[in-house]
Symmetry: C2
Subunit: 300 residues, 2 copies
């Protein structure tokens, strides 16, 4: 593949659509498939080839990219009875860029290897804005050769591109990332619940601590919005809940105990049941606010 | 006090001694008192006046600074039967720079106010190196007037100096800071236990995530040392345990629930009982390693 490989893109959601658009802009021949005729038409107007079945999509492509909600959808699309598998040709590459349980990625990879099809797991971080700007962080798991061949694709989609290890390594890295982000947001929640309840000016507390060891991307990105009560997504709590669910699935498969992540996953479930799942994940602090009947930033 | 106030300094430990030294260098008249004759002699050679009783120390001073292990020592020294209280004169200022339960600071402040003595709580962050370099972050609680008068003192000791609010505000801010730092270290611990157990190259995981929303001072300060198995303190786990104990004391007094901090405080107690209390607090990850019988960074 010294030329740009022809790509088939499956899953034109909040992330997938702008990613597909960036591939078109970079000059890739792109076939698309989505349950939504509207989204297919939209991308067709920008130069994509809309496909109404997977036979056509796979037939036109050398690389298939999936960007789907969770592992069930990925497994269905790749391995399911109405999925792409029957149409895949030896030497093709399937890249799943969804955020799923990496043990499922490893399982899919093994099944595709039986048909001499390469599989990469390449989840991303950076959210909708990163997808639009083509500035996603991309964490890749898979064999060196297909990773190398797909580098022009990754470069059209993101900035910080790291080949972490074999299949599954991308997903495990994403889970590690999401554990840290969720716990860092929760830490901000508990710290500022204490400060608020103690009657402090939380803005001054933020100024006093942000330059020290407590400083973080999460603190700077989420605390000012928290004080303004701005929880507009961004990345939704219900999606972060899914990531922590997948982290605990992976932990179960690896037989390890992650007690804080396990607790936090329960708290996010509670928060979703309390109707807060569509808030930005900075709203994870709402769990600690509700628990204590207070609002951070409210004048006392 | 347009001149530099004469200072009495009580508590010449790991933090107190270099702080006292920086006050001498800045030109303050300094009287010192310590249980250790050796430390008193050392500072006497550098120009401090060694005092063998609090009557003399207080008599020579306009401002008293305490830098002690925990609230028991602060309460003893300030209010106890053999403490400084009988010698304090109206208008004097007592600054406690220890890290203690701020509800105790508020109690001490009230008792001193009855004798027209001002009290400030001004805990610091930045560790031994910050104390030596005079680059501590200082979080101050107290009335504006004595805070203003003591600003030359704070400026000789630190860089990021924030007057957060009334007495107790310094301590609550420090507790909020320590909650965030401890939970951020724990987050790194759980994330990298997952990555290690999944067989990943943890250095590559670190490179893949440090530039994104998972990025933090803690991640950059502690992860590389973790991979090198370097837990030389720095700030000891047993001291961070004390801070979380004080955070939970404060939470109890404020009647709030901080479930993750409560769990982590228990984990740090366990870690200290397992003989790891004298490690750097980056070693909080050891709890999650021991829990799962693995070492992060070990080749697998």
């Amino acid at each position: 593949m010294s030329h740009l490989p022809a790509i088939g893109f499956i899953g034109l959601g909040i992330m997938g659509k702008p990613m597909a658009r960036n591939l078109l802009k970079a000059g890739f021949s792109l076939s698309v498939s989505s349950r939504s005729k509207e989204k297919m038409d939209e991308l067709a107007r920008e130069g994509a080839h809309p496909c109404h079945d997977y036979s056509e999509l796979v037939g036109r492509s050398e690389v298939i990219i999936t960007m789907l909600p969770d592992y069930q959808e990925v497994r269905d699309v790749v391995l399911g009875p109405r999925g792409i598998r029957p149409y895949l040709r030896p030497g093709m590459i399937v890249i799943d860029m969804s955020s799923i349980d990496p043990t499922v990625s490893i399982e899919i990879s093994k099944q595709l290897a039986e048909r001499s099809v390469h599989f990469l797991d390449a989840p991303v971080s950076g959210g909708e804005q990163g997808a639009i700007d083509g500035s996603l962080a991309i964490m890749i798991g898979g064999d060196a050769d297909p990773v190398q061949k797909c580098m022009p694709i990754f470069e059209a989609l993101g900035k910080n591109i790291v080949h972490v290890g074999p299949v599954g390594a991308g997903g495990f890295t994403k889970l590690a990332n999401q554990i840290i982000v969720a716990l860092n947001i929760a830490a901000v929640g508990e710290a500022f619940v204490l400060a608020q309840k103690a009657g402090l000016d939380v803005q001054k507390v933020y100024e006093a601590i942000r330059g020290g060891l407590a400083g973080s991307r999460v603190l700077d990105a989420k605390a000012p919005k928290l004080f303004q009560r701005d929880f507009k997504p961004g990345f939704r709590i219900e999606l972060h809940r899914k990531d922590l669910k997948n982290a605990m699935e992976a932990a179960k498969n690896l037989q390890i105990a992650l007690p804080l992540t396990a607790s936090l996953q329960q708290y996010l479930t509670a928060l979703c049941n309390q109707g807060e799942g569509s808030l930005d994940h900075g709203g994870i602090v709402r769990f600690f606010e509700r628990l204590n009947g207070i609002e951070i930033g409210k004048k006392v």
